[in-house]
């Protein structure tokens, strides 16, 4: 066991000073956030953040520079240490801990995790060209994939090819495969779509927007495929809004005044 050289003591002193500086700047940021009203201007916040980040950088540099020394140092209490004083005991326990403080342990774990998943790891945002390429590629590909499908109907093409009867839907009611004729030709499909549109303009019939796609050729504009409500429905329920308002019904129930008599 050798005693420390003056140089090594100096290194330790430096670490201490820098850590004290960091604590100070963090403390002043916290107090300014807690106490100043209104909140400090963003410029002052930013300058404080810069100071803190510089502090952190110097500390980090310092620690990594003197890694060899700091990693091998061992602290132990000298026999002359006044350990009987309770205040000193606390300090002693802090100094002699071999594990990190539980709170600090959490911080470190979080920091490690952030470091692992951060931009340093994958290509992430750093590779702007790759990102741009991805964005170029994705919409087109999604569009192509979407066009490959005939939106609407209850079954996919693959399911229909394999036989609709084999599809396990988990539903008790029988889904109609009303799209059989659409395979015969696209013209007919167009006709269907148009009839669906006409229906949509008239009564507020059941309809659903089943697909949205970019208009082919033109850069902007969206096309909606509107499928007419399944015509094979056993009993097409007509949607009729109540004619007599609720109030009138309640009034009739209360005093027997017919709704029309008012």
């Amino acid at each position: 066991m050798s005693s420390l050289t003056p140089d090594q003591i100096k290194t330790l002193e430096q670490s201490r000073q820098r850590l004290v500086q960091l604590t100070h700047s963090l403390g002043s940021l916290i107090t300014s956030l807690n106490q100043s009203d209104p909140l400090p201007s963003w410029t002052s916040l930013q300058s404080q953040a810069t100071i803190i980040s510089n502090n952190l950088l110097t500390i980090s540099d310092h620690l990594s520079d003197n890694r060899a020394l700091l990693a091998t140092l061992v602290a132990y209490p000298a026999p002359s240490y006044p350990a009987r004083n309770p205040a000193n005991t606390v300090a002693l326990e802090q100094l002699l801990r071999t594990k990190l403080d539980p709170r600090v342990e959490d911080w470190v774990a979080r920091g490690r995790k952030a470091g692992d998943t951060g931009p340093g790891q994958g290509h992430g945002l750093d590779d702007l060209a790759a990102l741009a390429a991805l964005w170029d590629w994705a919409p087109v590909e999604a569009n192509l994939e979407a066009r490959r499908r005939n939106w609407g109907g209850n079954f996919t093409l693959e399911e229909r090819e394999r036989g609709v009867g084999n599809v396990v839907t988990g539903l008790r009611r029988v889904l109609e495969d009303d799209d059989d004729d659409s395979e015969s030709g696209s013209e007919e499909e167009e006709g269907e779509e148009e009839s669906g549109d006409e229906e949509g303009e008239g009564e507020p019939d059941e309809m659903e927007v089943v697909g949205v796609r970019r208009k082919s050729g033109v850069a902007q504009g969206l096309e909606f495929d509107i499928a007419p409500a399944a015509s094979g429905h056993a009993a097409p329920l007509t949607v009729v809004a109540p004619v007599v308002p609720l109030d009138e019904i309640l009034r009739f129930m209360t005093v027997g005044i017919m709704p029309s008599q008012r």
């Binding site: 009729v240 109540p242 609720l246 019904i249 309640l250 129930m253 209360t254 005093v255």
Partner: protein, 270 residues
């Protein structure tokens, strides 16, 4: 007793679906309910103060007396409700027309329906006008019910100072979820008969299919109600309205339960 209510209008096409949803929500099968409802209106008989005349011998409970006091205090519309079953309705055969005529003309109808007006149980349902200016978004009103003597109810009601206004049939299903009674119902009107005046309640019921819904499209009314015994207990009232709001939230995607227009439930006789 107080009653806290929320209402919603349910279009006919949604009825079946909502029944299923409610059955799922409340984990019970709907209880079908058919009720005759007679609307009576109070009129002030000269000199009538507290005299209770005839036909009330078999119901003289304490709540009956309280109700009597309440009824004579103000002038209110009140309802008399009688449960019926589908079997009570007239035959649905071709003789239905003549049967319904018989019903109006004479009591000795030759139809085979088991309905016996003299055995019809009745329940008096008094409802106050909903409280005004309540901060919570539920309809709150004072209510009281009492059972009445069986049989012809028009006479005792007249004696109490009530005249018959109209009658209708309510058809619907009841669910119960915790303390909430959910009643999905609609009003059915009796077929218009030429000899029908507002003399009094019908002695015979027409065939069920002759009833026509008040709302032509056949829409239903959803009513969610909680009855609170002690209306002055603010804590209890608050809890009850919280429960109703909970139900409203659960049914939000299906129907919109709302407070009813206060004046549409105005039972005061002007």
């Amino acid at each position: 007793m107080h009653e806290l209510l929320l209402f919603a209008s349910v279009p006919a096409h949604q009825h079946h679906e909502l029944l299923q949803q409610l059955a799922g929500l409340t984990a019970m099968q709907p209880r079908h309910r058919l009720e005759r409802r007679l609307v009576f209106k109070a009129y002030r008989k000269p000199g009538l103060v507290t005299t209770r005349v005839g036909a009330s011998q078999d119901v003289q409970g304490a709540d009956m007396q309280r109700l009597n006091k309440m009824l004579n205090g103000g002038m209110y519309y009140t309802q008399v409700v009688g449960p019926v079953t589908k079997a009570d309705f007239g035959p649905t055969s071709s003789s239905a027309m003549s049967a319904s005529h018989d019903a109006d003309v004479s009591m000795s109808g030759t139809d085979q329906s088991s309905y016996c007006y003299d055995n019809q149980p009745w329940r008096l349902e008094f409802r106050d006008i909903p409280e005004a200016g309540t901060r919570s978004a539920v309809t709150t009103r004072l209510m009281a019910s009492a059972s009445l003597p069986k049989g012809d109810i028009a006479v005792p009601m007249n004696a109490w100072g009530y005249s018959f206004v109209t009658e209708y049939m309510v058809e619907g299903d009841v669910f119960v979820q915790n303390d909430i009674v959910i009643f999905l119902h609609r009003v059915l009107l009796y077929p218009q008969a030429e000899s029908q005046d507002s003399h009094g309640p019908r002695q015979q019921l027409p065939a069920y299919h002759e009833l026509t819904p008040l709302e032509r499209t056949g829409s239903y009314v959803l009513q969610a109600a909680i009855t609170v015994q002690d209306g002055s207990n603010q804590e209890m009232m608050k809890t009850a309205s919280q429960h109703l709001f909970g139900l409203r939230e659960q049914l939000k995607s299906a129907v919109r339960l709302e407070q009813a227009d206060r004046l549409s439930l105005d039972t005061r006789a002007k």
